[in-house]
Symmetry: C2
DNA sequence: TTGTAAGCGTTATCAT
DNA sequence: ATGATAACGCTTACAA
């Protein structure tokens, strides 16, 4: 493998001149540049990124740590982050965390010297871990469990969007609306969306029946399906369901079908995320469409600022994304 | 940021001894090790990966290049590869290619000095590009378009599995079976699965009506849905559909529902991939379940052998994965 | 068991 | 406009 030295020798110049050519530095005579480029291609020279990294202290790569890559939601998140990073000439390395421990691990500097910065989508860590985010390298956190931490933060529009989704069900005539969410911690996706749901009920003067709020262990389709089957069998009566993720909603649609409940005739269903599949379900799924692109753009932007040191290290931003409502068949759209 | 030198000074030993401690080398007296470890934690020492890479010529990271991260199929692929790599102490960096050009680009050494090797899931490159795979760093190729190239190759069980899927439809009573696939090139996913489909028809002595084979542009749900709506409206009569991907099949289920065709009553549908969603569709989707785990394991294994140089550079393996059939409601399971 | 010296390939700085 | 020098932080080989 040819090095800069080899190219320099072949072109009859100094290594430094070769470096200047590679990096498009201004002060290189065109004829010299020619010679160097010719030698480079003749020797099939490729820059050694490890050496450059060592010297520069930068890698041009940012890390993205997500709980799982094998899910519609995080797949989409990754795709939008990659696109946003590419626009800034950055590459993205995706890492699967799967647990709070691994999230903390991803944060630890030792694993991250290969990245210039890290976008951490935290699902396992909670508010109590906020101080663990106080690390010396650039970090932007995504998610709904840590607010006001010592890093920049991009959050979903949980409260407002959940309120809008629930309001939509009410406007479509639902009066007994169930909420299907994950385990409600002090602050997390489920608790925030639960709050929005309650607010919408209050706005409309509807009672909030605790029996209609159901927490399941995970956000998977399986959990949604089981809940729907069990709750229908139990005779719990409701005419609308707000599921805090589309995956849950997909499961619910399946579970309701199993028990012969018609959607949207008897029960209306709305989800959250607008994953690709939701448009093609039977019935197609009404849902909240968060501004994924805008949030990804913003997260990368915040990270780049930290990397470039153009942001004072003391102040940190908390950004909440926008959203829109997508009305489809599952709510009678 | 503390370096090995700093730690050495603080512990009153040489840098080499610190290095030995870090790398668990045997000949270090316990008391010395203690001193060093204490100094390391006091100074909050982290190894500089860039420097280590430069010195070792290894990164401990392998690259995975996939056409898109935002799809059920590639999401699952990525997840299984990550798991397989983790078992060998390797980390995975995922890269989105999206086009033949980017696939070739991912191959180019300049981008890959950050990886010890590359697993390339090729969808854009074709057999004509096989020679482009002749690069000097370890590469394993996944996919159905390049066989016998100058690299190790792991392929899906396209022919056999398609034959089995089609045979299953026949056994369930279908006589006019449509095939929905992507653009058929000389060798690719669609052509291989088409061949399996034809073989199954021939096995059963059924005629192969070309009107029943339909190529769509992409493998997306949209394409499947459109095909189903159009073909039903056209009055094309068929009683079974083999879709070469689950995504297509999801679209087909939706399209058939739109036109009032009952599944599996009037038409039976089977897919390929066994994506997570397929179990929860309405009706749930019968499909081919390729041995994703086995194939991922094998791909990582082949790559590791190349990285370690334990394989002669001349011979290359072509591995085909196993599969099983998952029978669900869409074929009357 | 521990230490010394050298070098991995690149680029910033300063000199010419 | 070009080049000499040194340094980024680590580990291999060898010496003590």
């Amino acid at each position: 493998m040819a090095t800069i030295q080899d190219v320099a020798k072949a072109a009859g110049v100094s290594p430094m001149t070769v470096s200047n050519v590679i990096n498009d530095h201004p002060n290189v005579r065109p004829s010299t540049r020619e010679k160097v480029l010719e030698a480079m291609s003749r020797l099939d020279y490729r820059v050694n990124v490890a050496a450059r990294n060592l010297r520069k202290g930068r890698t041009g790569v940012i890390g993205l740590a997500v709980p799982e890559v094998d899910s519609a939601y995080y797949g989409r998140l990754a795709a939008t982050i990659i696109a946003a990073a590419e626009r800034r000439g950055l590459r993205v390395s995706i890492e699967q965390t799967a647990s709070r421990e691994n999230e903390l691990d991803a944060l630890s500097l030792s694993r991250n010297r290969l990245y210039d910065g890290l976008i951490l989508s935290a699902a396992g860590m909670g508010q109590a871990d906020a101080e663990r985010l106080r690390v010396e390298h650039p970090v932007v956190i995504l998610g709904d469990r840590i607010f006001g931490g010592p890093v920049d933060h991009v959050a979903m529009p949980n409260f407002d969007a959940s309120r809008a989704a629930t309001r939509h069900l009410i406007e479509r005539g639902c009066r007994r609306i169930a909420l299907l969410c994950g385990a409600v911690e002090e602050i997390d996706t489920s608790s925030l969306r639960l709050a929005g749901y309650r607010q919408a009920l209050a706005d409309a003067g509807l009672p909030a029946d605790p029996a209609l709020v159901r927490q399941v262990d995970r956000f998977g389709m399986r959990d949604g399906a089981e809940w729907a089957r069990v709750t229908t069998a139990d005779g719990l009566d409701f005419d609308g369901v707000f599921c805090v993720t589309d995956s849950l909603a997909m499961g619910v649609l399946r579970g309701l079908a199993d028990t012969g409940v018609r959607v949207p005739g008897q029960v209306k269903v709305i989800g959250f995320d607008n994953v690709t599949e939701s448009e093609y379900l039977i019935p197609s799924l009404s849902t909240v469409d968060p501004d994924h692109e805008g949030m990804a753009e913003r997260a990368v932007d915040l990270l780049v600022r930290r990397i470039e040191g153009s942001e004072p290290p003391t102040r940190h931003q908390d950004v909440t994304g926008g959203f829109s409502l997508v009305v489809r068949e599952s709510t009678g759209g």
